[in-house]
């Protein structure tokens, strides 16, 4: 089978539609993951064992099971409990929860890196726990973890093709439907690969910039 450039240009508009959905899902998923991660990280630090233990187990469980199965769970099991989600919403929740548990580890490391003296100083200044977190700890903890978080968001971007399994019409699904109607696989699937490679390489440059701006990630 030969590579056909005419066919490539004909399917390009459809592929671009798919890229838009892919990027949208990544951005929404990242926002949700950043929020979920912070909540999990804070709850795991709770002095109340009845809170920290179950949250810790929940996070471990999510990290130990495949994203694809979690998406199936959200998309197929929840409707029988009366919760109907559109494919994209289910996909974003799945991505957000899954990567939220990874983000939680990043937050944990970032918070642990704030020196003890800062906590003690906050206590000495008679700040409430809320004020301590909001004005002292988080402003110092968050900038160093931005590159590590961005790293996970790039990883999330590469997992978005899984959303095609729950019928979201993103890049991979567009490519597959093109391939199935025209019975040509080389161009659509290769193009998906090229799109991903280009966007990933661009985001790696963005990541390098973030690392220079906010400090290096420790590997």
């Amino acid at each position: 089978m030969e590579w056909d450039w005419n066919f490539v240009w004909r399917i390009m508009p459809t592929m671009i539609e798919g890229v838009k959905i892919t990027i949208l899902a990544t951005i929404l998923g990242s926002a949700l993951a950043a929020a979920v991660g912070l909540v999990i990280a804070l709850l795991r630090r709770s002095p109340n064992k009845l809170v920290s233990r179950p949250v810790g187990f929940f996070a471990e469980f999510i990290r130990g099971t495949p994203l694809l199965v979690q998406l199936y769970f959200l998309f197929y099991v929840l409707p029988s409990a009366g919760i109907l989600l559109s494919p994209l919403v289910a996909g974003v929740i799945g991505l957000g929860l899954h990567y939220g548990t990874y983000a939680a580890e990043v937050y944990r490391a970032g918070i642990d890196n704030v020196p003890r003296g800062q906590w003690e100083a906050a206590k000495a200044c008679n700040l409430t726990p809320g004020q301590t977190w909001l004005h002292v700890v988080l402003p110092q903890a968050i900038p160093p973890m931005i590159p590590a978080l961005a790293n996970y968001f790039i990883a999330m971007f590469k997992e978005t093709p899984l959303l095609s399994a729950i019928t979201v019409l993103e890049l991979m699904n567009q490519a597959r439907s093109i391939a199935n109607t025209n019975y040509r696989y080389i161009e659509p699937i290769t193009l998906v690969g090229v799109f991903f490679l280009v966007i990933s390489l661009v985001s790696v440059f963005g990541l390098r910039w973030l690392e220079r701006r906010y400090g290096r990630v420790e590997n």
Binding site: V69, Y76, K158, E159, Y185, V192, F196, L197
Partner: protein, 219 residues
């Protein structure tokens, strides 16, 4: 109430395929990780370029796209693989690229004085790697390799989309046959989690085993 035992054995058959994929994929990934990781540290520029290209390509595109490419595009180029072979190939090459960076990082984390001592003892480069550097670097690599193996286990769920009857595929079969969604998906979530826990326990055991007698030798 449906009799679940028949369906459960169907899912357990899928679990065997998942375990098989994980083991074979990990074996290939391990080989690729050492080949590409040491290739990046090679004195020969072409070996470095080849290793870098491999690593960047497989880390830059999605595992899902790679799998589809191997399964749908390679046959058109004259290479036909069974779903299992395609799965093992894609998983092994993908996770191997991540592992290569681990190998490189671990070898580079070994102190300069070790390399200098090898030169002073007139060891060849191969002897230095084999007897001095790798035995120390292996312990540094082990925990991250464990995480990579869990990532690989989770990635095996994707092969269900190229019609390989792994655990996720069998769960879909059960869902289609019974119309019940909670039982199959909850069962496989628990099974995946149990497998992930097994891997992390095994790695921790191996780590204890390999660091035995090394207390105080390395800082």
């Amino acid at each position: 109430m449906t009799d679940w035992s028949g369906y459960l054995s169907l899912i357990l058959q899928g679990a065997l395929v998942t375990i098989q994929l994980t083991l074979l994929g990990s074996a290939l990934a391990l080989v690729m990780a050492f080949a590409a990781g040491l290739g990046r540290l090679s004195r020969f520029a072409p070996a470095r370029w080849l290793a870098t290209a491999y690593i960047e390509f497989f880390r830059g595109t999605s595992i899902f796209v790679q799998l589809f490419w191997v399964y749908f595009v390679l046959p058109l180029l004259g290479v036909t693989l069974s779903p299992l072979q395609a799965g093992v190939l894609a998983l092994g090459l993908n996770v191997g690229a991540y592992g290569a960076e681990v190998v490189r990082g671990a070898v580079q984390s070994i102190g300069r004085e070790q390399f200098e001592a090898c030169v002073a003892l007139n060891l060849s480069r191969f002897q230095a790697m084999r007897h001095v550097i790798l035995p120390q670097a292996l312990i540094v690599m082990l925990p991250t390799f464990g995480n990579n193996a869990i990532e690989l286990l989770k990635a095996t769920a994707i092969v269900s989309l190229i019609s390989l009857s792994d655990m996720t595929f069998q769960a879909q079969v059960v869902r289609a046959q019974t119309g019940n969604t909670f039982f199959p998906f909850a069962t496989i979530l628990v099974l995946y989690f149990a497998m992930a826990m097994t891997i992390s326990t095994a790695i921790r055991w191996l780590e204890r085993r390999m660091t035995r007698g090394l207390d105080g030798v390395r800082s």
